[in-house]
Symmetry: C2
Subunit: 310 residues, 2 copies
């Protein structure tokens, strides 16, 4: 656990270094799992698999996948098993980015400093690659190679679908689009982000508990932790969109403001947004209390999401 | 079973009338299940649910759903239970049509005589509605409201994902696009349609066997039946695209030829295509032999797919 002689800031700095190391190590494992689950092909569908690989491999912080493997580790779930669940959620996240970037949606040419999938390939291929990544994400969870009982796999699939569909991520995207150009109150902005980005982050944190057959209290705590981390992540995103450069972000900065979207920064001011993010981080850390020192990286992560520069 | 004093054509005519009646009755049950599973909402996501309902309700032959409920009935699965599986496959089919119709894909303004979803709403809404329909299809199968064991639900989900993803329907769509403007050999055209439309029709016929916990032989037979019906269906589609009017089809006729797609008609001629469809129908009927008179509507359906005018 935390050494009480350390100040908060030295604790954060030290934890940040360990977290960075751990995230890199886990990201490599997740990357390898994705690579294995999306083998390149040579047939008439080669372009589809190439686009699926392009959209998913070689990039990103793997925040969602990291949450899945790290919460699973609390319950001694094997890394191989957890990496499949992590790969599945990263594929779903990737599909949402591919479709979000389409001209009819956010019309983004760049993603993580590279051409977005429809720019690298074409629009039709990007639509299909997104569609197939979603299917693949469910297929992985259903597969008996996940080495979990049918009950556990069904539990994962139900939670995953709930987080990512019309009542979750996609619903949030719709509310976000509908709100463009209108000033939304704070409660609505919170709600739309809870759906749009929060649900999948919450599911990622919860997935380890499902896989590890946690007690209802443990599961509820990780769910609550994931909800708070997801909300803090989005507020930090709004702050970065205002303060970071395009080079740091690897994508166009200031886009939300330009699109007339209501942001936390617009509603609370930079300082107010920072305070709210810090409050959520403290709450997330409180949720982890019963897990002791094993959850230290999850504590570090709660700080990281509001401290990151990209 | 068939009355041996009947000629084939009177048998087909009589069976066709019974089938028409039965399909209408089952379609009403499936429609009601979809209506129940996709309730309209009033929040900021109302447009999304409206588009999902628009894309799924009030139309179509419900061929896939009919196969699911009719094969399930062979094993005395309750209609309520089977209707959920049928609704799920119809939602997946609907999502594929919504995305297929997009400007970047087939660019179709009409579907079943009505504006396609992106014309009725807008492109972004159509993309999201398709995405959410796919999620919903998996969510329904995972739900314990399906009243099947976790093992059965996992079995359904795995077969469903296999049929609809990159190795199934979406892979077929990609191969179809890649083949535009090139003359493909018969084997490739067969392969692409086996993926693009065949897999989901095969899954639909197999889903009743999974739900009904059929023996491996029964399941293999329904799978084989579904494969043959799916192939015959596609050949009949190519024939209709050449011979039917836009009014009969409810969509633009002659589109495949205009798009430079290799069709069965182009490769085999109208007569050759009709013969191949008839051969597949006979094979499908042979697969049903052990099911006796209970499978009569499935026999009628095998004729229907090649006799239909839309």
């Amino acid at each position: 656990m935390t050494n009480p002689t350390h100040t908060l800031s030295s604790r954060v700095a030290e934890g940040g270094a360990l977290l960075k190391q751990d995230m890199a190590a886990r990201a490599a494992v997740i990357e390898s799992a994705i690579d294995h689950l999306l083998p390149p092909t040579t047939g008439g569908d080669a372009r589809l698999w190439d686009a699926m690989r392009y959209a998913t491999l070689g990039g990103g912080k793997r925040l969602r996948g990291y949450l899945a493997v790290t919460t699973a580790a609390l319950f001694d779930v094997s890394e191989t098993q957890a990496a499949r669940v992590a790969a599945s959620v990263e594929m779903l996240h990737a599909y949402s980015l591919v479709h979000d970037d389409l001209p009819a949606m956010d019309d983004d040419d760049m993603r993580r400093g590279q051409p977005s999938t429809h720019r690298k390939f074409d629009e039709a291929t990007a639509i299909l690659a997104g569609d197939a990544l979603q299917t693949k994400a469910f297929e992985i969870l259903a597969s008996n190679k996940t080495h979990a009982s049918a009950e556990v796999r069904i539990d994962l699939i139900a939670a995953f679908a709930d987080a990512s569909g019309a009542a979750g991520m996609v619903g949030g995207q719709m509310i976000d689009m509908e709100g463009e150009g209108r000033a939304l109150p704070l409660a609505e902005v919170s709600h739309l982000h809870a759906l749009k980005t929060g649900c999948l982050i919450r599911y990622s944190a919860e997935s380890g508990a499902i896989l590890g057959q946690a007690t209802p209290d443990q599961r509820a705590r990780l769910r609550s932790y994931g909800t708070a981390v997801g909300a803090a992540f989005q507020i930090a995103d709004d702050i970065l969109d205002t303060t970071a450069t395009a080079e740091e972000l690897g994508k166009t900065a200031g886009k939300d403001e330009a699109a007339g979207k209501s942001t936390f920064v617009a509603l609370l001011g930079i300082d107010g947004a920072r305070k709210e993010a810090a409050r959520l981080t403290e709450q997330a850390i409180a949720d982890l209390a019963p897990f002791g020192a094993r959850a230290d990286r999850l504590r570090d992560l709660a700080y990281y999401v509001i401290e990151r520069r990209n």
